[in-house]
Each structure stands twice: as C-alpha cells, then as structure tokens.
C-alpha cells in the first residue's frame, strides 16, 4: 500500500491520498465520477454504433435474400475464432483489473499484456479476412464483382460489413494503444488497491468493444446458414 502516503505539505489541510484531486471529497467519490464519465461516453458509443446497426436492420429487412447470399460467402471460422479471442481478452482484462485491485503489480502487467496480445491477434485475423475479401471481389466499389441478380444489394451488405467491422477495428486499435499506456503505468507501479481507476476505466472501454463484436458476429456471419 505504498501509494497511500499522506501528503499535507503544500496544503496545511487534512492528509489525503496523493491521487485525490482537490475538487473531490473522497477517493470513492472521485472514482464514482470517473466511472459515471466513462459510462456516459460508452452511452454515446452505443448510439454511434446503434446508428449503423439500424442501417443494417433496415437493409436486411428490405433485401433479406441479398443479405443472406452475401453473408453466406463469408467464412465463419475466422469470425468464430475472433469472437473467442475477444471474449478471452475480456477475461484477461477483468483479471487485470482484479490484480490491480489487489495490489499485484506484476500480475496486473501480465494480464494486461495478455489482453493487448489477444487484441492484436483479433486485428491480425481481421487483416486476413479483409485481404480475402479483396481477392474474392467483395469490396464495394471498383473491386466488386458479382453475377447475382442481387449484386447491387449485396454491395450494400458489404458496405455495412466493412463500415461496421472497420469502425470496430478502429476502436480496437485505440483500445490497444490505450492499454499499452496503462500497461506501462502499471509496470511503473502507479496502481494499487487504493487507486486503480485508469485500469478499470480502460477495462470498461475494452469490454464495450467486445460487446459490439458479440452483436456483429451473428448479424454479419450467420444470416440464413441453414439449408
């Protein structure tokens, strides 16, 4: 608990945790404010992705056959592996936060590195999938080739596929960068059971990115797979 050192030197007031900012009365209040702030941001992210999910909903309703045909051309295996990878990364993230909560510095660093690693695996598989799409001429625009009578509507599906997974991948990249910073801070011993808020906030963001994928996977990869 070496971080919880009293510091009253410059204040002439009661001692407080060095990480307690002056507009807060207690560490708990400060942490609550951080948590609420992060959740409000995630609320805006729900609406951000929500708009794209709505577009998907509408066009799937209008052009179901085209969506089913286009979705069936996507290989399930990389998507399924990626789903497992992301859920595992949420596990390692949660364990990382727990390690910080219990002042286990090296365990925190190890779990965070595992989270970053799994995030990079996810992105790597995505690169493979995107490259595969280019080869099969599934990229909307000049690259797109399809003999199907539904070609125009299939392009709509792939536009949504690339926009939604692309935006998601961008969020993953931001998450990996942010997590790298947090890992460095953890390595430097900045966190312990009295102050681990940045780890937890980064964790909330990371879990949110996982949540988006949990919805993306069935909607993009699993349209009318029976028969």
């Amino acid at each position: 608990m070496s971080n919880a050192v009293a510091h009253a030197d410059a204040h002439g007031q009661a001692v407080h945790h060095p990480k307690l900012q002056h507009h807060f009365e207690t560490m708990q209040q400060q942490k609550e404010a951080s948590t609420l702030g992060m959740w409000l941001f995630l609320l805006t992210e729900v609406l951000f992705f929500g708009g794209l999910f709505f577009a998907y909903l509408l066009y799937r309703m209008w052009y179901f056959e085209a969506f089913a045909e286009a979705s069936r051309t996507i290989s399930i295996t990389p998507g399924l592996i990626n789903t497992a990878v992301l859920i595992a990364s949420s596990l390692t993230m949660a364990l990382g936060v727990r390690a910080a909560q219990t002042s286990q510095r090296s365990a925190t660093v190890r779990w965070l590195i595992a989270t970053i690693f799994l995030g990079l695996v996810f992105l790597g598989i995505k690169v493979y999938e995107y490259a595969d799409k280019f080869e099969h001429h599934h990229v909307p625009g000049a690259n797109f080739i399809s003999e199907s009578p539904w070609a125009a509507q299939e392009q709509i599906f792939f536009s949504l596929y690339f926009t939604m997974t692309g935006l998601h991948a961008l969020h993953m990249i931001v998450g990996v960068v942010m997590m790298s910073v947090i890992t460095w801070m953890a390595h430097k011993g900045k966190f312990d059971s009295t102050y681990y808020t940045p780890v937890e906030m980064a964790g909330l963001y990371w879990h949110f990115v996982d949540l988006v994928w949990i919805y993306l996977f069935p909607l993009l990869y699993l349209v009318e797979r029976h028969n």
Binding site: M27, Q28, K31, E32, T35, L36, W39, L40, L42, L43, V46, L47, G50, G51, F53, F54, L57, L58, W62, I76, L80, T83, A84, I87, A88, S90, L91, M93, A94, L95, R98, Q101, T102, S193, T194, E200, G203, L204, H207, F208, D210, L211, I214, Y215, F217, P218, L219, L222, E224, R225, H226, N227
Partner: protein, 101 residues
C-alpha cells in the same frame, strides 16, 4: 477501499458461459427456425452482453446511478431504432411520402 473484488472463479465461470453461448449461437444458425433465427441469435447475443456488462464490467456491484446510466443507454438506443423505423414504416401512406425502395 470498500470496492467489491470478484473472485477469479466468477470470471472463469462467466468466460465458460460465454464460450458455451457462442457455440450455441453458431449451432442455432444451422437449424431452420424460420423467421425465429434472427430473434434467437439476438437473444443469445443479448444474454452474452448482459453477462459481460454485469460481471466483467462490474455493473452488478456498481452504484444505482451507474446502473441507471447503463439502462438509459438502452432506452435511447430504442428511441433511435424505434423512431427512425417509424419514418420508414410510414412511408407511402396515402401517397403522401414516396416509398424508398
């Protein structure tokens, strides 16, 4: 700190449940449920999301205000989807607004 620390076993159990549910999602996709395929897939996804939010994101052990904000995001998402869909659903009525497709 009076923060709730979840035991590791809880995290591992939730992970296991999420893996099982992911498998269920894929298996269900290969069964012909007619028009219920999409609702079933979304229901499983929502259950998975609930587990992540409650346990991995710790909302089960968060303040009531935090829980309220989480529910509020769903509320506004429903307004976004619902109201926008109302626009499309009411197109072409009485020849007043053109149908879009």
């Amino acid at each position: 700190m009076s923060e709730h620390v979840s035991p590791k076993s809880v995290y591992y159990s939730i992970f296991g449940a999420l893996m099982v549910l992911t498998t269920a999602t894929v298996l269900a996709a290969y069964v012909n449920l007619g028009s219920f395929n999409a609702p079933v897939a979304l229901a499983i996804a929502t259950f998975k999301a609930t587990l992540v939010v409650l346990f991995f994101m710790h909302v089960k052990y968060s303040s009531r205000l935090t829980k309220l904000i989480v529910l509020t995001s769903l509320f506004f998402l429903l307004i976004l989807v619902g109201e926008t869909m109302m626009d499309y659903a009411t197109r072409g009525l009485q020849g007043l607004l053109p149908q879009l497709h």
